[in-house]
Amino acid sequence: MIQEHALDTVDINVNMGPQHPSTHGVFRMVLTIDGERVVDVEPHIGYMHRGGEKLSETMDYRQAIGYQDRTDYLAQFQNEQAYCMAVEKLIGIEVPERAEYIRVILCELNRITSHMMFVGAFGIDLGIFGTTFTYAFRERERIQDIFEEVSGERLMYGYFRPGGVVWDLPDNFVQRVREVLPQTRQGLKDLDTLLTDNEIFVARSRGVGAISGEDAINWGLTGPMLRASGVPWDLRKDKPYSIYDRFAFEIPVGQFGDVYDRYLVRMEEMRQSIRIVEDALEQLPEGPILPEKMPRKLRGPVAEVYACVEGARGEYGIYIVSKSGDKPYRLKIRSPSFCNLSALRAITIGNYVADAVAILGSIDIVLCDVDR
C-alpha cells in the first residue's frame, strides 16, 4: 500500500571547527543549515583560553610583557604598546622621543604584516589554492625579517618596555625599511590585481555580510570592521596617542560594510601605514631610547588606568587596577577580535555556507585574542 506524504526536510547541524581549515584557529561554529542556507549559528569560543589576564596579574610589570605578545599574535607590537602605555600612565614615565618613533614605525609595519596575513588567509577562505597566501607571505616575510633584526624574534618580540624600547635600532635599520617599502607596495599591487578586480572574488564578497554603521556601533565593533561600515573612527586620529598627530595619513572608510569593503579598507590601511612609516623614518630623531631616570623595579600607585591603541583588528585596550606593588591587582584586556566576533551570528544567518566562511574570514579573528 502506497501512502502519499509530503517530502520532509530537516535542518542539520554542522560543527564547523574546532578542527576546520577555515576557522582560523580553534574556533567552533555550530551551523544549523537548511540545504546550503545557514539558519542559525552558534559560536563557541574558549578552546584557546590560557588565562593571559590572570597570568599577567601574577607577574611584575616587566615580566608580563611576554604575555601581551601572546594575545593577538599577529599584531604583537601593538599589544605591547598598549600594555606599555598603560604601565607608563600608571607609574608616570615619560617616553623619550626616539622610542616613540621606533614604536610607531614598528607598530605600523606590524599593521601591514597583520593585514597581509588577513589578505592571504582570506584568499584561501574564498578558494584560491594558496596563491594569495604565498604572495602575502612574501611581503610579510620581508617585514618580519626587519622585525627579527630589530628585536631578535620572529613572532613574540618582547621588544617594548615601559618607558621605551629595550635596545636601540640596528645601524642599517632605516635603509633596510626604505628598501622593503617599495617592494611591499609592489606586492600590494600584485594582490590588488589578483583579487580586487577579479570578478569571481567580487561576486563572492560584494553584498555578503553587510553591517550598517549603526549596528556596527551598537555591537561595539572597532577597527576595519567599523570603518568598513562607514564610521570614520580611528583611535590614531580621534584619540591620538603616542605621536600619531605628527603624521599625515587618511582613514579609509567603506560605504556598504560588506565583506568586500572590509577587504578594501584593510588594503588601503596598508598603504596608509606605508605612508606613516615613510614619514616617521624621515623624522626619526637621535636620542635615548629609555628615560634617564628609570626605576629599577616598577611599582605602581593605587590607581586605575586604561590605555588603548588602534590595533590591526580594532581597539586593543589594557585596563590595569593597581593596589600598589609591582604587580597589577587586576588586568583586563579589551580585545578587538572578541568584540568583533559578536557580530558574526547576525550577519551569517540567511547566507550560504560558503559565505559563512567568507564572513568569518573577513572579521579577521585571532583566536588567541578572542580567548586570551
Partner: protein, 154 residues
C-alpha cells in the same frame, strides 16, 4: 572577465620568476646577530670558568620559572686565580618551558647568560621532552666552542 585574465597574468609572470623560498634543512638562512633563540651560559676564557655566580637573579625574574640555579663556593677563589667568591654549581634550563623573553639576560649582573643567536639554538627537536632540560655542561658548550656570534644589541 578582464579581472580574471589580469589575475592570470600575475600568476604567469610570477611563475617565470625565481622562487623566493629556500630548501630549508639543507640551506640555512643567515640569522641576524640579535637573533634570540634559547638562553645559554657564557664561559669566561680568561679564568677558565663560567661567568655565572649563581646569584638567582635570572631565576627570580623568569616569568615561566624554567630555570633552576644552585650555587657553591668557588674553589678557584681559594686558590686566588679567580675573583668570583661564589660560582655556579648546577644550572638547569627547561627549553620546553622557556618563552625566550630575554628577561634573564637583562637582569643578569655579570653578563653570564645570553640568548643563543645561531641556528643550533633553534633546531632542538627531541623525542623526549626531558631531553630539553639542559644542564650546565650543555648550556655552556656552545659558547665554550666559540660558536656564538658577537652580539651587537647590548
Amino acid at each position: 572577465m578582464i579581472g580574471v585574465l589580469k589575475g592570470m597574468m600575475v600568476t604567469f609572470s610570477t611563475a617565470m620568476r625565481k622562487p623566493v623560498t629556500i630548501e630549508y634543512p639543507s640551506v640555512h638562512r643567515e640569522v641576524p646577530q640579535r637573533d634570540r633563540a634559547f638562553p645559554i651560559l657564557l664561559w669566561d676564557n680568561d679564568v677558565d670558568e663560567p661567568f655565572c655566580t649563581g646569584c638567582h637573579a635570572c631565576e627570580r625574574a623568569c616569568p615561566v620559572e624554567c630555570m633552576t640555579v644552585i650555587m657553591k663556593d668557588n674553589p678557584k677563589h681559594a686558590d686566588g686565580t679567580s675573583k668570583r667568591r661564589k660560582i655556579i654549581d648546577e644550572f638547569f634550563i627547561d627549553y620546553g618551558r622557556c618563552m625566550r623573553c630575554n628577561i634573564c639576560v637583562e637582569v643578569c649582573n655579570f653578563e653570564a647568560i645570553a640568548m643563543n643567536n645561531t641556528w643550533a639554538g633553534h633546531e632542538l627537536s627531541k623525542f623526549d621532552r626531558n631531553e630539553l632540560v639542559l644542564d650546565l655542561d650543555q648550556l655552556m658548550s656552545q659558547h665554550k666552542q666559540g660558536k656564538i656570534k658577537e652580539w651587537v644589541g647590548e
